[in-house]
Every structure is written in C-alpha cells, then in structure tokens.
Symmetry: C2
Subunit: 324 residues, 2 copies
DNA sequence: GCACTCCTTGCACGTTTGTTCATTTGGAAT
DNA sequence: ATTCCAAATGAACAAACGTGCAAGGAGTGC
C-alpha cells in the first residue's frame, strides 16, 4: 500500500531480483535457484510470481513492424490510428471479452506512461476492468488526473471513481488528482461558476497539459448500456434529448454524433468531461473498446479524431471494418 | 538465416504473436490456446519457445533504482560506471561463469542497440560466449563493426571473428563490417601504410562514429590466459616486452598498464585495435568480465576510463572491491 | 506469560509444460 | 507418378511448476 518499498521489503525485492535474473536471464529451473538461495522451490515460485506481479519482471510483446494482423493494418489505413487487436475466443461472453481486453491493456499501459508524465483517466466499466489489473511500474513526479466527475443523484461517486484512480496511482507511484464534481450538473450556470473556482481551474489546467489520456466508450442506445446510462446519471428527459440530437456515444461523459460532432448537444453544456479540443491537444489518446455493440460509438469517436491508439477485441474490430 | 521474415514465415510469426498475447498477456494455459488455434498443445509450446527465442517476446528485468545490490552501488561509487552483477553460484567453474555471464549479457544487449546505430565488437572467448546467445531484435539501418583484426601467423582469423560478428549481425538484422587484418602487424610501418588505404580508413571512420562498443578484457599474466595470449598471436619476445612494460591487460588487443596508461607500450604500435581515445569518444562502452583472474586487468581498464557499463560475475565484483 | 492474529515456510498433490519419438505432410527432384 | 527429404505434427512420457494446507514464527494486545 505504500508507494515506495519499505526497508523491510527491500530484501525480498533484492531476492526477487536475483531469482528473476537466474530464472529469466539464465534459464535455471526454480529448483536450482532454490538451492542457491537456500530455500524451497515453492518459495522461489512465489518469489517469481511476486516479481512479475510487481513489475520487476517486465514481459513485452513486440511485433515486428511488418507483422500486424490484417485487421490492424486495415484499421490503421482507414482511420489513421495505431490499432491493437486483442485476440479473444469467438465464444467468449461480453464480460469475458471485457476482462481479457482489460487485462491486456493493463499489462501494456506501462509503455505509455513514465516519470514526469500526467495521465488523464476516465471511469466506467472498461476503466474499472483495466484498473483491476494494472501492473506496477515505478515512476517519479508523475500524476494521474480524473477526466470527469462521477457524482450523481445518489452518490458523490467519489468512492467509485477514486477506487479506480487509486489503483492506477498505486501501481505507478503517481500522485492522484481527484475531480470531486457531479458527472452532470443540473444547471449549466453552476458548472460555469465552478469552473471559475481556482481549485477547479487548477485541475482543468492539469488536464490541459496531460501527456496521455485513457478512456473507454459510452454507447447509449445499445442492448448493453454502459455505466453512465444505467447508473442513475441521466433522467428520461435526458435520454430523449440525446436521442433527438442523434448522439451515438460519449467519451468521458461528453457526447458526440455519428459524424464526430459534439456541438449543439445540450447535455454537453452540463457535463463535467473535457471538451474534445482539450482531448485532441493530448499527444497520446488511448481508447479501449470491447463488445461489438460499441461499434457505432467507436465510428463516431474516430470521426471526432479523439483516438491515437486503439485497443479492441477481435469481434469489435471486424464489426468496425464491415460495411454499414 | 534471412534477415527479414520470409512471407512463408509470417504466418508462423502471426500465430506466435497471438499465442504470446494469450499466454503472456492473458495468462491462458497452453492447452486453452491450443484449442483456440486448433492445434496441439505441443505445437503451442514450441510456438512460444520460438516467440521467446526470436525476440517476439521480450522479458526484461527492471530493478527499481533504489534496489541495486551493495556490490553494484559500491562499484558505482568507486569507479563511476554503471555496474551490473550477474549472480552466479559460488561453486561454479570458470567456463560456467563465462557462459552464465554471456547468456545474461546477450539477453539484455538489445536494450543498448537500436535502429540507426553502430556497435563495435571485439573478439575473444567472452565475446564468443555472448554471440552464441544473442537474442534477436529487429533493427534498421544499423551496423556491427569489428574493432580489431583477428589474423595471426596461422590463420587469417576471418572465419573465427566473422562467425562472432555474423551472429550479432543476424540477430539484429544489422550490416556487418569486417576488419580483415592481422591482430598484430609484424612491422608498424605496414600498419601505417594500410591505415592510409581508403578501404581501411573508411572502416576506421565507422569505428570513430560508433554508438556502442562491446568488449571483454584480456589478462596476460594470469593462470587462465585469454584467447590472445594462447592463440598464437604473440611470440615469446612479445611477452617479454609486455612484461617489461608492466602491462596488466588489453581491450581489443590494445594494451594498458595498471594506471590505465597505454603510452610507450611498443606492441600497441603494431596492434590493429582502436586507440583508447577513439574508444572514449564512444557514448556507451560495455565491458563484460568473468573470472576473478581478470581483476587486475579490470582495474587498469577502469583507470583508463574505457568503461561506461560493466557486467561481471559476483566473484569478480568482490575481487574488484577487496583491497590489494 | 499467554492468547491471538498475520505472515511465511515447506510439503504434497495435481496441473502445466518441455521434449522425445514415431508418424504424417508438403514440396522438390527425378 | 514416384521417390526422397526435411519440416511439422500429436501422443506419451518426464520434468517443472503452482497452490492448498498444515505447521512454525514474529509481532501485538491483554
């Protein structure tokens, strides 16, 4: 739970490091390592698990640049984003897909984040899944900033959102910047007022300077509604309004139409999420999508140029490319 | 043997990539992967081995900056080099040590070498060991350049040295620049003349601009003489000369004394290796040492400031730090 | 000092993985 | 078409590995 290793842990870390060397660099068996370190093989097994889980051992997969799958190449060509298809068995359930994609992204995320960087984080079921698996990586002077508020009529949302944030913060040893506001204001004027508060504008400035943004997609009118659409954030009147405006999805509770436009959608004036112009200023914008019901939403987000790096499961990738 | 993947291999590579994803990112068992890919588990096992061996899967060990061992910290403080101690069982034989250190260095070497870079390579038993294990990494427009000639009275040395070079070149997809000259000239004047040849001076220029140099250490008057001292490169008279000059070791067949000085050692005028000034101009200079008999030589090389990154086994590290 | 909890250890078991071997497959040469 | 060879495959076995469990220790509170 501490951000740096206790002195108590450092011996364990030292051991884990040697064990990892012997195992992964010199291909010794755990048995042999156990003898060298004068302990049992089981302990070494556990030590190595620890080394992997704590990011001491870092396993990466580097596709030679000419090897991306057809799907990935095609998406890259058509939408100018760097696409990464997560292989998922055809028969997998939607939750299964989400977990798998979340796990994969969690393992890879460290490549995008380093010392002295700021990462913006949304919330939602996708983000929650990722957060549950993030592999630690030691960074300095870095921060995680919440992109949009999570409060609603029933709760402040702080517990939920901050749990997600905390997991990222812990894993990277980063400072966490919470955004304790409702997801949607009742009155746009309140938002305007609050946005002028120094405490809030400080946060907005941090958002404006972030190096990486990580978010999932919302998809309002699909069979499996996303967190925002089921969690008591919106009222029936809001739904009607979204429907009338032709909204196909959202990123961090900012809505957009099929062509990627976000103008003239009344709800956006009350949303706590970052304007797309802010997002587009961010160098890396990683979008994670799982479940083909989000294809329409994804098309919109791509049209809006919100995405630089896209992670999706195989089915969704196919859905994205298929006509219609 | 080809530098780029045949189209024929690319399907295999594609499969290896998916398998690696499923195995290392999603923690599936090989059995599960076999079912998804409609093949036997054995094939997946082989596929994953291939993925590791061919550098598709890259396993790194990243010590948190506060975790280097006492030995490493101490070496860093005393000699201003980044030290990496390779753990080796106390009872290990000298060959065993060499293999282990070689394997470890081979696995991490990729971290130092990338596209558009030039790496200078020496030869000798240490380099040979490393070369036998280098893990592939795809690079573009990079080259490997031989640091010193390998010819002697009996052979041109080309077969031996070029085998080492070739292994590095193959692994990195790099262009190999051979240096087909004797290790030592009989007559300094011949060297001078040859050095003015355009074919040779072209190579010397490449050496002068290299980004990384990788070398072992020679150690003349120790129980276990290095390759240079046993391979018929030197005559008895040369030994006497070295002894009289107070030589303690060599880097790429350039000799130095305990204080790191290389001046006034007659043999150096006839050596094909790079002057130390050339070496010192190279940003990264990786030295690999195994076996405590090389401690004296190592002290000299450190005094000469030939090293920026040092890899050695535990025993040698201890020997280096112990007084005397 | 005693009881309590929490964490670590090594054993034993079942699972997962590497490897050998006999067999098949897909080409190339004849 | 036939033969040949090399590479790839899956079954079967042996080795290596992960994990539940009970025992042992270290620390804490009473």
């Amino acid at each position: 739970m501490t951000l740096v290793d206790d002195p108590i842990h450092s011996e364990r870390t030292r051991d884990a490091l040697t064990a990892a060397h012997l195992y992964y660099m010199q291909d010794l068996t755990m048995d042999a390592i156990a003898q060298e370190l004068h302990t049992s093989r089981s302990s070494i097994s556990r030590l190595l698990s620890h080394a992997r889980a704590s990011g001491l051992v870092d396993i990466q997969i580097r596709s030679p640049l000419d090897a991306p799958s057809l799907l990935e190449k095609e998406i890259q060509n058509r939408f100018q984003v760097s696409a990464h298809v997560v292989p998922v068995p055809d028969g997998a359930s939607d939750v299964d897909r989400l977990e798998r994609v979340g796990l994969s992204v969690a393992r890879i995320l460290g490549q995008y984040f380093d010392s002295n960087m700021t990462m913006g984080i949304a919330w939602g079921s996708t983000m929650s899944a990722i957060s549950r698996y993030v592999t630690p990586k030691q960074t300095h002077n870095s921060q995680i900033v919440q992109l949009n508020g999570a409060g609603n009529m029933r709760t402040t949302g702080i517990a939920y959102a901050s749990e997600i944030l905390r997991r990222f913060g812990d894993a990277y040893g980063a400072h966490v910047q919470q955004f304790p506001v409702p997801a949607f204001f009742d009155d746009p004027a309140t938002k305007q007022a609050l946005w002028r508060e120094r405490s809030v504008s400080r946060l907005l400035e941090i958002q404006g300077r972030m190096d990486v943004a990580l978010f999932g997609l919302g998809s309002p009118f699909s069979e499996v509604p996303s967190h925002v659409y089921a969690g008591g954030y919106l009222e029936p009147a809001d739904y009607d309004s979204l429907s009338r405006s032709g909204v196909v999805g959202d990123v961090a509770t900012v809505f957009f139409r099929a062509d990627g436009q976000a103008d003239g959608i009344p709800l956006n004036d009350r949303s706590s999420g970052p304007e797309f112009s802010v997002l587009r200023r961010t160098p890396r914008r990683i979008c994670v999508v799982s479940g083909s019901s989000k294809v329409k939403s994804l098309r919109g987000a791509l049209a809006a140029e919100l995405i630089t790096d896209l992670y999706l499961d195989e089915g969704t990738a196919r859905g994205l490319l298929s006509a219609d």
